[in-house]
Structures are given as C-alpha cells and as structure tokens.
C-alpha cells in the first residue's frame, strides 16, 4: 500500500503539472504533448487501481489516436507552431474564478461525503471479467455506442469533405 501511495503521488503531481501546462502554455503543439502526460498519468492511475483493460485502452485510444487527431487539427488549421502569446483570451480572470470556486465546492463535498473511505483492492480485474460484464449486463448500451461511433465517423467525413 505504501508503494502504491508513493506512485500515486508521483503520477498525480505529473498529471497536475501537465494539466496546468495544457491550459496555460503559449505553444499549441506543446499543449497537445502535455495532454499526453496527463492521459498517460491517467492510464498509470488505472493500473494502480488494478483496472488493466481500461488502462491499455486509454493508452491506445487516447494517446494513440486522439492526440494524433489533435496534431492533425493543429496542422490543418494552420495554427502558429511557435510560441504565440495570444492563445488565451481576456476571460482569464473569469475562468480562474469559476474553476477555483468549482474546485472548492467539489473538494468540500468530496471530503464531507467520503472522508477517509479506503479502497480495498482484492485482485486486479481481469479483462475476461470486463468482457463478461459488457456482454451480459451492458450489451444494449454497447451496441448503441457502436452505432454512435459509426454515425460520428460518417458525420465527420460528410462535414470535412470538400464538395
């Protein structure tokens, strides 16, 4: 448990720094790469919680596909690749106020509700169990999400093609 806590804090600090850099850096490509740090840290937290399947799906789908999509989006909109001081708008104070208020409220509610509740990990969740749950309890949502993905695919092609 001690080792898990040490690794939790290492990854948590890396994720916090990465998240802050994503929303404050002046270089749009660096923002996408800091997002990799946050998402990779998230995958590491999933591994610490013994949830292996979702950790590797996160690495493959988010880091492998979504980040590449972001880099394509940056390239295709001819965003400035160098540092550029106008990536934040004049709503910084409002955004800071909103997020600090939200963080305060969430932290208060979470500490009030869950206090020192412990997580008792018995064993890592095997991928076979996840498959069982998906195809027994959540079969219909799974199929619906598949259709949604197909619709999004067709929609993206229709929107982005030149005609």
């Amino acid at each position: 448990m001690v080792a898990q806590n040490v690794f939790f804090w290492i990854f948590a600090v890396a994720m916090a720094i990465g998240a802050i850099r994503v929303v404050t850096t002046d270089n749009i490509v660096h923002a996408a790469l800091w997002l990799v740090v946050v998402l990779g840290g998230g995958a590491a937290q999933f591994l610490l919680l013994g949830q292996e399947f979702i950790a590797w799906v996160q690495v493959i789908v988010y880091i492998g596909a979504v980040i590449v999509l972001f880099l394509f989006g940056i390239m295709l909109t001819h965003a400035p690749m160098q540092a550029h001081e106008t990536l934040g708008n004049n709503l910084r104070a409002v955004g800071l106020a909103v997020s600090v208020l939200l963080a305060g409220t969430l932290a208060w509610v979470l500490v009030d509700q869950f206090g020192n509740d412990k997580i008792h990990l018995v064993a890592p969740v095997r991928t076979a169990e996840v498959g069982d749950v998906v195809f027994r309890s959540y079969l219909v949502p799974f199929e619906v999400v598949g259709v949604l993905l197909l619709a999004a695919l067709i929609g993206a092609v229709v929107l982005a093609r030149r005609d």
């Binding site: 916090a16 996408a32 998230g42 909109t77 106008t86 990536l87 932290a107 509740d117 996840v130």
Partner: protein
Amino acid sequence: MILNQFLLLSAFLFCTGAYGVIARRHTVLVLASIELMLTAVNINLVAFGASLNSAAGQVFALFVLTIAAAEVGVGLAIVLLIYRNLRSADPDDLAELKG
C-alpha cells in the same frame, strides 16, 4: 489507498479543464480541455468501480472513452469547416449570430 485521493485528483483535472474551456482562444485547445474533463470523469468512474470491487466502472469508462473519441472526430471536422469558411479557429470570431 483512500478513495478521496483519486476523487480529489479528478476534481482538480476537471476544474483545470473548465478553466481551459473558458480561457483558451483556439478551438483545438478548447477540445483538448474538454478531453481533460472527460479524463477526470473516467478516473472517477474507475476509482468508484475499484472501491466497489466491480468491473462496471471500467465498462462505463469504456463508454465515456468511445464517446470522447467520437466527439473529437466530429469536433475537429467542425473546426476544419469553420476554419475553411472564416479563416480563423478562434471561437471568439464566431460572432455571426449577433445582429
């Protein structure tokens, strides 16, 4: 490990993402901030799943991840379309609904 350390980390990520959505001036960065918020949601779901000793948390996180991928695909197509029409990817330039 206590449950709250994961929940507080995810609350922090969510609030950082909210700040990014409000304060960023490039649509791709706004989408990246939304991804931060969705990752925070996933950490919550997986932490609750682990604390309840159930695989359902992973399943819901899987659904969120699928929808996040679909959202980024459609979102970037819309950003490209806006850029092609307006030569700009700044959400503040999309002010054509003002009379």
